[in-house]
């Protein structure tokens, strides 16, 4: 005989939504969702109403109007007769350019510093600690401004390179066989030119230089051929135990075709020359760009260094001892045993550092580098007065960039993470 009785058979009561733990969480979620949506609806409604009151409409037609302003740094051809959309594109490319270079440099520097911080050399380790604590604890904007101030204040103006007619000398001379000039506006570096140029394909986006296209194709083919050569050497080694000598073949395959192509195209460098107010002929890398790039790199590298250090310390000491026991030297241990395993720990936080660097690049306006924020969110917004459209568009673009970066990095993360079978 059982004394336990079944729960009383009752229908569903409304109070169960609050008092019954089976339904309570659902109730809370639904209510929260409704509140959030109501809040959003109120904001949208408020915006539309206020826009109506101001007599403003919401459209992106301004993007096809003539921009009318000039942009200092441009990767694709642009004049003030182009549209605002083109100016946006110029700014977007500038953002991507500084972000890509910044991520690359920060990664290299970060790994370097992170590894050195674990060095047994007291001085080196302390120096790296100092670097990390210094750079990650001061806002990146200040670092960018400091970089610009240094570049502006310690370098001479282009005028100083002018040759004095009386003495026949200039106040300052150019570096590296008169090919590089550091000035307080930009660094003038030689430009690459081809005497037998193949010309360029003119697309609406940007002209594509056939010369560089050819060089890229040749390089890719060379690298592919070299890998085949190495694979063949491995096979021979596996079969016979003797590795054939490949270094001169590798060199020949990697650099031979490239040299032939460069000579055939008439590759040469054109040094910048001072003409009037500024250097012309070469490429002028603006100080604004260098300052932004340096600031972002130094700042982010400090974080990456910590991530790398954490990754390395996460690998148990036994791994190092085991590889030492196998007779591997310390640097080979690091390269072949520790870092590949540490990467699994390093990659996920590295993604957010890349995202941070990309988003921080919008501080460019502080040094006058015309990125997306400077063109679309700056001058275009001001000249057209389309705040809502410009800011929304800018947010969408940054979001798209960030999602792309994390998507790509996630793919890479999948390829290095521990394969569990």
């Amino acid at each position: 005989m059982t004394s336990a009785s079944d729960a009383p058979e009752q229908g569903f009561r409304l109070s169960q939504l609050i008092y019954d733990t089976r339904y309570r969480s659902l109730t809370i979620q639904v209510v929260t969702f409704i509140l959030v949506m109501a809040g959003a609806a109120w904001l949208v409604d408020n915006t539309i109403q206020n826009l109506n009151q101001l007599g403003k409409d919401f459209n992106f037609g301004f993007l096809s109007n003539r921009a009318g302003y000039d942009i200092g740094q441009q990767l694709i051809p642009y004049t003030n007769d182009n549209t605002h959309a083109r100016a946006l594109l110029v700014g977007l490319l500038n953002t991507l350019w500084v972000s890509i270079l910044g991520c690359a440099a920060a990664t290299v520097l970060g790994i370097f510093v992170g590894v050195l911080r674990l060095s047994h050399n007291w001085l080196v380790a302390r120096l790296m600690t100092f670097y990390v604590e210094m750079f990650r604890n001061i806002p990146v904007l200040l670092w960018i401004l400091v970089c610009l101030a240094l570049l502006t204040e310690i370098t001479p103006s282009p005028n100083a390179y002018k040759i004095n007619p009386e003495t026949g000398e200039s106040a300052v001379s150019m570096l590296l066989f008169d090919s590089i000039a550091l000035t307080n506006r930009y660094t003038a570096i030689p430009a690459i030119e081809f005497s037998n140029s193949l010309g360029a394909i003119d697309t609406a986006f940007a002209p594509i230089s056939l010369n560089f296209l050819l060089i890229a194709v040749v390089l890719i083919v060379s690298i592919w051929a070299n890998r085949r050569l190495q694979a063949h050497a491995h096979k021979v080694q596996d079969d016979t135990g003797v590795r054939p000598v490949t270094w001169w073949k590798s060199l020949l395959i990697l650099f031979g075709p490239l040299l032939v192509v460069l000579v055939a195209l008439g590759f040469h460098l054109v040094s910048p020359t001072l003409k009037g107010f500024n250097f012309t002929g070469g490429v002028n890398v603006s100080n604004a760009f260098v300052a932004l790039w340096l600031g972002l790199t130094l700042y982010t590298a400090a974080f990456i260094a910590e991530i790398v250090r954490a990754g390395i310390m996460a690998i148990s000491k036994g791994q190092t001892e085991a590889s030492f026991a196998l007779g591997l030297r310390p640097n080979r241990t690091m390269k072949l045993v520790i870092l590949p395993q540490a990467l699994r720990v390093i990659i996920p936080p590295l993604i957010s550092q890349y995202l941070n660097l990309t988003k921080n690049s919008s501080l460019a306006i502080a040094v006058g580098y015309m990125d997306l924020r400077g063109t679309l969110g700056g001058i275009t917004l001001n000249q057209t007065g389309r705040e809502l459209e410009a800011i929304l568009l800018m947010m969408l673009i940054y979001l798209a960039i960030s999602l792309t970066i994390s998507g790509l990095m996630n793919i890479y993360n999948k390829s290095v993470k521990l394969k569990e079978r």
């Binding site: 007599g55 000039d70 200092g72 506006r185 500024n278 006058g368 700056g378 705040e387 969408l396």
Partner: protein, 338 residues
């Protein structure tokens, strides 16, 4: 994605929520303080001193309006705005009026929904260079690096000028006047361009003003004037006629010194109407009849303000030029008070 749009809307809505639906005059009276958008710091036009007291040519307009509306020229809250934020600040209701050397243009007046209510300074864009550069004309600036403040009409004028003269230049974009000065003084740009009044004011703040010259070319028309939001005509009228009262006062010889005397009644009916002795002009705008007297007493008439802030006796040393009364060959011409 939804989240970002949501946050963006949030930001925009937060700004727009401040838009005053009621009349600006009632708002200002109820608040007891006039919110006036001014430059972040341009000596002579609007700059705070060591004690945080604002003074200058544009500030004087704010003071006159505050005196006319609230009866006390000190009842002004100065809101420093950059070239980028000024119109948003006005449109969103953060400021009641903008007296911030802003150029009156067609698109600002129509598309941006502002109302420029007059011109308090007729300006033009020019270039400043170091004397030792050896440049005497803007036409010699081919290939030069030019510092330029972003978010202003000067960017477009500059592009047009160099294009029309078939010259090239390297724009060095800067965010504020202070940054521009620093870059220019460090030699990061060969020339600094903005309105000539702004150049003169900037030069006056240098340790060695004599080593810098302002080139003779004036490459644009820059009528600078106070602006109010579109749609509140009563408030627009008040600001507009306060400025006109200052200009008319100079024309009729009404100064801060003799305004009390003249307000007792004169033989000149125009002065009598201006100062509220005759007629009901003040009431027509929703103020009392003494409004103009208070406005003039706040900082003097237009000529007094000009002389005290940017005139030839000040370090900025601007001549009246186009900004003289129409009777003196200038462009200042207040419509009749009747």
């Amino acid at each position: 994605m939804k989240k970002s749009v949501f946050l963006g809307t949030l930001a925009v809505a937060a700004v727009s929520a401040g838009v005053a639906a009621a009349g600006t005059l009632e708002d200002v009276k109820a608040r007891g303080e006039l919110n006036c958008g001014v430059n972040t710091g341009l000596v002579g036009f609007a700059a705070p001193d060591a004690n945080g007291n604002w003074s200058g040519f544009d500030v004087a307009v704010c003071k006159a309006v505050a005196a006319a509306v609230l009866g006390d020229p000190s009842k002004v809250k100065y809101v420093p705005t950059t070239g980028q934020t000024r119109f948003t600040a006005l449109a969103s209701g953060e400021v009641d009026m903008l007296a911030r050397n802003s150029t009156w243009t067609f698109s600002r007046d129509t598309d941006l929904k502002l109302d420029f209510i007059g011109v308090n300074y007729y300006d033009g864009q020019g270039f400043m260079v170091r004397k030792d550069l050896g440049v005497t004309s803007a036409k010699e600036l081919d290939g030069a690096s030019v510092c330029i403040q972003t978010g202003t009409t000067t960017e477009l004028n500059l592009a047009d000028f160099f294009k029309a003269n078939n010259m090239t230049y390297q724009p060095i974009t800067i965010d504020s006047n202070a940054e521009g000065e620093q870059q220019y003084l460090a030699g990061a740009c060969d020339a600094y361009t903005t309105d000539i009044s702004g150049l003169a004011a900037t030069r006056a703040s240098y340790a060695d003003p004599e080593n810098h010259i302002i080139l003779p070319e004036v490459i644009s028309k820059e009528p600078l004037g106070p602006a109010v939001r579109h749609g509140d005509n009563q408030w627009g009228d008040i600001v507009s006629w306060t400025l006109n009262a200052l200009i008319a006062a100079e024309e009729y010889g009404v100064t801060s010194a003799n305004v009390d005397e003249l307000a007792k009644g004169t033989d000149n009916p125009e002065i009598n109407r201006l100062l509220g002795v005759e007629g009901e002009l003040g009431k027509m705008t929703g103020l009392d009849n003494d409004w103009a007297v208070r406005a003039i007493k706040a900082g003097g008439n237009y000529g007094e303000i000009f002389a005290a802030t940017i005139g030839e006796a000040t370090p900025i040393a601007l001549a009246r030029g186009l900004n003289a009364q129409w009777t003196q060959g200038g462009l200042l011409y207040a419509p009749p008070f009747r």
